[in-house]
């Protein structure tokens, strides 16, 4: 019996020790949670940042944990309800993602740092637009601004007799038609990852509805079923999915779509600026590729920002901020130039003269754009995003008619408990 008691005590001690060890982050430890980026360049940039910080601050240990996108989101949620968690976490900055965390109190108010270090001057205007959008105070520090535009294969355009980059939505459609006439699918998309096809839907909404209405629809201030351009957008979207996308696409993901694009099976892709890294890794000849903004009447750039947030539960906010400071500082940003795409958030970072031509175009695009609009899955709260995915997917697969799609969206939004 005594042995049994001893065993029980030992067992409990083990469990307790396990708990304690899991919870404690020592005074000099920083836990950074990030997503696992597609390319090695980006992952290296993060790892290198940890190393550099440890070199500059001896005795510190920076632990970077990288997860797949969905797992990262779930892990943050999990940590929200427990004492385990990161000191710094990465998130897309829109309402549906970063905004959720801010509204749930997971992010630390960084107003004091912004004021003390005059951070607002460091970053580009578009990248800063989400800092004080939600809740009280200023949250998160931009570390990446991503633009999304149309990459196209010049050889395909040549074959179809397209001589100029489309500048209006109508011209884009004619180009797609011309490509179809010579047997080339205009776009490649991966349907299994909902956010990829969503880019087309978002841009069609922008093209058909215009900036103001589009924003109002996404903010759910306008009734989808009462706004005619919403239905019209779905009609246009269906036309695209029926005629101008490399088929079959619902069963493949974005990476496979990209492989097919590089394999010259389609003419265009709606991709982020960092796709340039993918093209570099694929070893393409950049003379064959070009870039233009998806044409819309108001000319906004489609894009989103990724921010580094300091957790409100962090025990080392000072140290965490120093890491972020170092990461976004002009020195390190220059060092990792191009790793996270063509558009450094730090305005002081200059591009090399001999940089990839597409990179240069990106910078021009951003500079010229009168504004930006964000991806649907970041504009909407989570449950609406899920429904949004379902609705346009159903339009694409022919399950519902475009004329019913806007009603379905409206019904769901109205029913939200």
């Amino acid at each position: 019996m005594q042995r049994l008691k001893n065993a029980l005590v030992a067992g409990c001690a083990l469990i307790a020790a396990d708990c304690v060890l899991a919870n404690v982050a020592t005074a000099q430890e920083l836990d950074v949670w990030s997503i696992s980026y597609d390319s090695d360049i980006q992952r290296e940039a993060l790892r290198r940042a940890a190393e550099k910080f440890e070199e500059e601050h001896p005795g510190t240990n920076v632990q970077i944990t990288m997860r797949g996108t969905d797992e990262h989101k779930t892990a943050l949620r999990v940590s929200a309800g427990s004492d385990n968690g990161p000191d710094i976490f990465l998130s897309w900055a829109g309402r549906g993602l970063g905004g959720e965390y801010v509204l749930a109190g997971l992010s630390r108010d960084l107003t004091e740092y912004y004021e003390k270090y005059n951070l607002a001057d460091r970053f580009s205007v578009p990248s800063l637009s989400f800092v004080d959008d939600f809740g009280e105070g200023m949250h998160g520090v931009p570390f990446r601004f991503t633009g999304e535009g149309v990459f196209y294969d010049k050889r395909a355009f040549e074959k179809a007799g397209i001589t100029a980059e489309p500048e209006t939505y109508e011209e884009l459609k004619s180009a797609a038609e011309a490509l179809k006439a010579v047997g080339i699918p205009a776009f490649a998309f991966g349907g299994t990852v909902n956010w990829h096809l969503m880019r087309l839907m978002d841009n069609v909404l922008e093209a058909v509805c215009g900036a103001e209405t589009h924003d109002a629809l996404k903010k759910m201030e306008l009734d989808w079923s009462a706004t005619p351009c919403a239905e019209q957008s779905f009609v246009e979207f269906k036309e695209w999915t029926d005629n101008y996308i490399l088929s079959p696409f619902m069963g493949i993901d974005n990476k496979q779509a990209f492989s097919l694009f590089v394999g010259q099976r389609a003419a265009m892709m709606l991709e982020t600026d960092h796709q340039v890294n993918q093209l570099i890794e694929a070893g393409v000849d950049f003379d064959d590729y070009g870039l233009f903004k998806f044409p819309t009447p108001d000319g906004r750039l489609y894009g989103f920002a990724e921010y580094l947030y300091i957790s409100s539960k962090s025990e080392n906010p000072e140290l965490a901020f120093q890491f972020i400071d170092m990461f976004t500082d002009v020195d390190y940003q220059t060092e990792i130039k191009g790793a996270f795409g063509a558009l450094p958030v730090n305005t002081a970072v200059k591009q090399d003269a001999d940089v990839n031509p597409i990179y240069q175009e990106w910078t021009t695009l951003l500079a010229d754009a009168p504004g930006t609009f964000v991806n649907g899955d970041q504009a909407f709260p989570l449950d609406v995003t899920t429904e949004y995915f379902r609705v346009f997917n159903q339009v694409a697969t022919g399950e519902i008619a475009p004329s019913d799609a806007d009603d379905t969206m409206a019904t769901f939004i109205a029913n939200r408990g």
């Binding site: 083990l14 469990i15 396990d18 708990c19 899991a22 919870n23 696992s36 597609d38 944990t65 990288m66 997860r67 797949g68 969905d70 797992e71 779930t74 892990a75 999990v78 309800g81 427990s82 004492d83 385990n84 993901d253 990476k255 496979q256 990209f258 492989s259 394999g263």
Partner: protein, 292 residues
């Protein structure tokens, strides 16, 4: 002749001098053809894992690889963090399986051999758990483990595994123990042995075959488990083999060679275990069938 056939042990050997029944020949051909279809996926996966990505895109499905493209396996091992996931799966399985079997056997013995009021009800209560899909409880399970601070720990995943693995084992072992002749334990009881001793010295040794079968079955089930691990092991350094594969699929789906190499490395341990311990799988399953 036919009578001896009826009582002869069923074996794989052909009875010499037997006339070939055309129906049986046709049957055999059909079975082999179906078996070929059944094994085709494995062949396809294996072949793809040995080809480079470029080769995959141009060669046909069952074309033999021109050469073995080892970088697929190296890349998959590295990118899928197989060293870590393999270790985690091993630790979790090797701790949970024997432990689970032990506590199930203890409970089964108590329910089969010790006079208790309502022991039938207790057995039913435990058996109930074998029928309920734990998938409906993933969210509350997560909440519970989280509240206990055991997310991302071995303890946190092993305890629920024990809870859901016990019912079936208790059920099987209860049936087995109930069938043990009473005289065996009665003599020992009269001599003053405690139930612990009887359990340890009499029942465990004689139930070794059943235990072995249950051990193998449980090992494979634990090794392959996905949904609970998905919910409880959030940190990628704690992932088990199935979680690693799923994550790999999400990240490297377009690298077909590596993807298939990852599949091969994930299923290989189970296949090896199966080929070695074949008969235990069958006897473990049939023990359940016969009992019920």
């Amino acid at each position: 002749m036919s009578l001896t056939k009826a009582t002869a042990p069923i074996s794989d050997k052909r009875v010499p001098g037997r006339r070939y029944d055309p129906v049986l020949v046709a049957l055999w051909i059909a079975l082999v053809a179906i078996a070929a279809i059944w094994i085709a996926p494995f062949v396809f996966i294996l072949f793809t894992s040995l080809k480079s990505n470029a080769e995959v895109m141009v060669s046909s499905a069952f074309a033999l690889p021109t050469s073995v493209h080892w970088p697929n396996f190296e890349g998959a091992w590295r990118n899928g963090d197989f060293a870590s996931t393999l270790l985690n799966s091993t630790i979790i399985s090797f701790v949970k399986v024997p432990l689970g079997l032990l506590i199930s056997a203890m409970a089964a013995y108590a329910l089969a051999r010790i006079q208790l009021r309502r022991r039938k009800a207790l057995l039913l209560f435990i058996l109930f758990g074998a029928m309920i899909p734990f998938q409906v409880m993933l969210a509350p399970l997560f909440t519970l483990v989280n509240q206990l601070g055991l997310i991302d720990t071995y303890v946190g995943i092993i305890l629920p595994y024990l809870a859901f693995g016990a019912p079936y084992q208790v059920f099987i072992l209860h049936g087995f123990f109930s069938a043990v002749p009473k005289e065996l334990s009665e003599a020992a009881l009269i001599d003053g042995a405690s139930h612990f001793t009887i359990f340890r010295r009499i029942f465990l040794p004689i139930s070794l075959p059943v235990l072995a079968a249950l051990l193998i079955l449980d090992f494979v089930n634990t090794w392959n488990e996905f949904a609970m691990a998905l919910v409880i092991l959030q940190d990628s350094s704690m992932w088990t083999l199935p979680l690693g594969l799923m994550s790999f699929q999400g990240q490297f789906s377009s690298d077909y060679g590596q993807m298939n190499a990852a599949i091969v490395m994930t299923v290989l341990p189970a296949i090896i275990i199966y080929l070695i311990f074949q008969r235990y799988f069958v006897s473990g399953l049939t023990a359940g069938a016969v009992k019920a």
